[in-house]
């Protein structure tokens, strides 16, 4: 048996009654009580997530913007206001998705990058390899000294200000997808739930006290189970499930993040232009009784597809999914999903399914 990695909040999760699971090699809370209650807690009020397993990377030095402009499928030139964030895929030269990540523009000498836990080591190796060729003076530093907590829900910001009043002046005016560097606390108005809120990066040794301080003002801990249903309802991809290195961003619902029109060259661009995809990502809502799950086959008149993420939507009280299907499939079509020995009807819909406390179908 391999030893699981733990975050600095491990003891706190256990003290709060979490059910712990192996999540990609990390010992993480999947739920503390009812996963559905935790989901509604975030949509309607506020909850907090341990996201210390995600990795913060700082890219520093002259020319950092030009380097990111080449490294990423989205265009770093879109962010010009300090603190502004950008979501992007990072591609192999063949167009496969290495990871999806968020970059924050802080200064022309400093961009902060947040990457997924399971891909962090290969991401950093890739960034360093590319930097060695294209920007050898740049420093790429994995911030293993930092922890991260996401506080999400309509009341999230107010709760953070209650606990960290010293950050209020600098973070009150943040727009969505913008961060402020408040000394020890880096506060970003970002998240993975489709709700308002902050993601707070802070020194590892301070995170347990921060977690308990949030708990004391009424912020409930939320497990990875509800995190998954929240992000699925919000129509946000999960790396390793909805996309990976075997598929490109255009067939993963990420065309909006890929800038193919400008003159700018970036890693993977030539492959994307040379191979227009024949599949696309759509939303599904199950019409019959059952639950959609990843890897179930989808039958359509245009050929076969596959569910990439599926679950039960607590907001809609229906089963929903993201599925990769042939381009000919249209919104409003009815398709068949194979679940065990049955073929069940599902409706093709435009996603997101729910955001900001409300169902969108």
């Amino acid at each position: 048996m391999t030893t699981l990695k733990v975050t600095p909040l491990n003891a706190a999760h256990r003290a709060m009654g979490a059910k712990m699971v192996d999540f990609g090699g990390w010992d993480m809370p999947v739920n503390y009580g009812s996963q559905i209650d935790e989901h509604h807690q975030v949509r309607n009020d506020v909850g907090m997530f341990d996201v210390c397993h995600m990795r913060v990377v700082d890219a520093k030095g002259d020319g950092v913007r030009a380097f990111l402009r080449y490294l990423l499928a989205n265009n770093a030139d879109k962010i010009t206001v300090p603190g502004k964030a950008l979501y992007s895929a990072m591609l192999r030269p063949n167009g496969g998705v290495i990871d999806d990540l968020i970059i924050y523009f802080m200064t022309e000498q400093w961009f902060r990058i947040v990457v997924n836990a399971g891909t962090a080591d290969k991401d950093i190796a890739w960034m360093k390899e590319q930097a060695a060729t294209h920007a050898p003076k740049l420093s790429i530093t994995s911030r293993d000294d930092l922890a991260m907590v996401a506080i999400q829900g309509p009341n999230a910001r107010a709760k953070v200000w209650e606990v960290l009043p010293q950050t209020k002046a600098a973070t009150e005016s943040l727009v969505n997808f913008q961060a402020a560097d408040c000394g020890e606390y880096f506060v970003a108005r970002t998240g993975y739930t489709g709700e308002d809120g902050f993601e707070v990066m802070l020194p590892k040794e301070k995170v347990e006290a921060f977690w308990y301080a949030l708990s004391k003002v009424g912020v409930k801990p939320i497990g990875l189970g509800a995190r998954d249903t929240l992000r699925l309802e919000a129509g946000m991809n999960l790396y390793g499930q909805d996309m990976d290195e075997s598929v490109g961003p255009l067939e993963s619902g990420l065309a909006w993040t890929v800038d193919l029109k400008s003159e700018r060259d970036f890693i993977g661009k030539a492959a994307l232009l040379a191979n227009p995809p024949s599949n696309k990502l759509v939303g599904l809502v199950l019409l019959d009784r059952g639950v959609l799950r990843g890897h179930q086959k989808v039958k359509t008149p245009h050929g076969e597809g596959e569910i990439t993420s599926g679950s039960f939507s607590p907001t809609l009280e229906k089963s929903i999914a993201l599925a990769r299907v042939p381009n000919g499939v249209a919104i409003g079509d009815t398709v068949q999903v194979e679940i065990r020995d049955k073929s069940l009807n599902a409706s093709v819909v435009k996603y997101p399914f729910a955001r900001n406390g409300k169902g969108l179908l």
């Binding site: 059910k19 999947v30 739920n31 009812s34 996963q35 559905i36 189970g225 249903t229 009784r289 059952g290 639950v291 799950r293 679950s311 039960f312 607590p314 089963s319 065990r340």
Partner: protein, 129 residues
């Protein structure tokens, strides 16, 4: 919650209650519902279906995962709990009340040979280590 001593159990986490007429009522244990979490869908076998012991015959799905339910003994299904169609969460709130299906066992001795509460608890404890 302890496992009721008047029930029999399987290592695959079904509980079995013997009724006065010799038929059995089957559900999933407290431990099983705890592992699965919030239930959102139950597919029970239809009356008249003949089952072999340990055959997959029902599916319970939580938000997290789908799990098979197995026939504890051989026999014929005589009823399914239709209440669970609209209220699968009853399995979470009352696992030993929210039965899934009823069977007429081929052989009463098969039922007697299932695990008692203490033996089932030993199975649960061994899984935790």
């Amino acid at each position: 919650m302890s496992n009721p001593s008047n029930l029999k159990y399987t290592a695959s986490h079904e509980w079995v209650k013997t009724e006065a007429d010799g038929s059995i009522t089957v559900g999933i244990t407290q431990h099983a519902q705890e592992l699965l979490g919030d239930m959102v869908f139950v597919e029970a076998p239809t009356a008249g279906r003949k089952l072999k012991a340990k055959e997959e015959c029902a599916v319970v799905e939580s938000v997290k995962a789908a799990a098979d339910v197995y026939a504890p003994v051989s026999g014929e299904v005589i009823a399914a709990n239709g209440d669970l169609d609209g209220s699968p969460e009853n399995i979470n709130s009352d696992p030993y009340g929210a039965w899934i299906f009823k069977m007429k066992p081929d052989n009463a001795a098969d039922v007697a040979a299932l695990l008692d509460a203490a033996a089932y608890q030993a199975v649960v404890d061994s899984e935790a280590h």
